[in-house]
Symmetry: C2
Subunit: 248 residues, 2 copies
């Protein structure tokens, strides 16, 4: 079990903060709108946010009517910022690893997770815990790095034409699930690659019905401002899934 | 509506026949075993096979206990061979396009389709017809070319190292669904690209629960005999889906 806490690494943390604060970050432009487009009605709902980071989404869930939000993260630094910037009476922040939720109590109507499940090695166990924590008919809504992104064990990721435009994405090792040690801000960041069928079958086996899947792409307005995102039409950045708890 | 009947093109048909009869064909080695691994119990079941081709699978479904099998194909040439080689008392062959099944009567417990749905432009309409033809709780089991295969609008598909081994797959235009005019045996073969999320959402919207998804890969025994298939670990050849009819 790799209980990675890269977000408490000083260098990573500062680099990540700068990256996330850029208005051009794909998280803001593409992932977040897609996540909220799949959001069920939160009015009066108990919400759990796995890998809540700065807690921005926790606060947004309250605005959308949630009765209570629990934000969970492994990183002490993240939770300090969350408490300083996004605390509220009906939000609780909990420090715990997503890799083992067995100590978490409570029942939730909606479980969210934004760009965190690819850090978890044992997806089956995570889904079993989420299933346990959800009320009947409850929703699990998550985003993750796209499987084409997590697949690679070596670079370069993109092939360019002579004029600098992207020609294609260099897809390799998609069919080999498992650990990936990558460089992202710092060396040695550990993620886990799962294929589409791995993800779909794990959800089905854990007792979830897959309701909707998105591989969101930047629209014309975003492309006009940031032409670099044209390459996402070769290889999307994100995968989002909304699944409903059903029988096991 | 493109009601393509490429299988009645003489040149295509002969080329296809030679290709399929090779023992090294990926259909025999990878797709067919994967399809039958997902097959529900057929004992006493009414089966429909969409794009039945030579009718080999129809006969196999009878052996697996089906009470009756309807094999449907648009190609007169294919159906001639099917009737000559795989006819049986409890098999009916029907000439009809998968693009419009509205004239087809009957109720089926299982609908199969092997490597044919990527020829159909309107997937939503196809799924609506299959939903209509299935009994409650009935199963739709299909294989298709992998979305990484259908994505490309230009070649080359693979990047090789200097020693001739495959380095990666040149993935492009994955995020742009729609028509693809490709060369496969002959020029001008028309297929339709759909992303994973297109496929998953179409099934969900049509009233199917996705039970299992496979992107099958050749095992060690196949690789030992045909090392060329190592490249499938970068990019699988096939996608298979088993879905159950539920409420709309």
């Amino acid at each position: 079990m790799h209980d990675q806490n890269i977000y408490d690494n000083e260098v990573f943390f500062e680099g990540y903060r700068k990256l996330r604060e850029q208005p051009s970050a794909a998280n803001h432009l593409v992932e977040k709108p897609a996540l909220f487009s799949l959001c069920p009605n939160l009015s009066g709902k108990r919400v759990l946010d796995l890998g809540c980071g700065y807690g921005e989404n926790c606060r947004e869930f309250l605005h959308l009517g949630a009765s209570h939000v629990t934000g969970l993260d492994l990183s002490e630094k993240m939770l300090q910022i969350a408490k300083a910037e996004n605390d509220a009476e009906r939000i609780s922040f909990v420090r715990m690893s997503m890799s083992d939720l067995s100590a978490l109590d409570g029942t939730f109507d909606v479980v969210f997770s934004s760009l965190a499940v690819h850090y978890v090695e044992d997806f089956d166990q995570l889904l079993a815990q989420i299933h346990r924590l959800l009320a009947d008919g409850g929703i699990f809504l998550f985003s993750q790095e796209h499987p084409f992104t997590t697949a690679l064990r070596k670079g370069p990721r993109w092939s360019q034409n002579e004029d600098g435009t992207i020609n294609h994405y260099n897809l390799s090792d998609y069919g080999i699930p498992g650990i990936r040690t990558t460089t992202w801000i710092v060396d040695g960041v550990i993620k886990y690659h799962r294929t589409f069928s791995d993800i779909v079958n794990a959800l089905s086996t854990a007792g979830f019905q897959l309701e909707q899947m998105l591989e969101p792409l930047p629209g014309a307005d975003i492309l006009a401002q940031y032409p670099v995102y044209q390459k996402c039409y070769h290889k999307p950045d994100f995968l989002l899934v909304r699944a409903k708890k059903c029988c096991v």
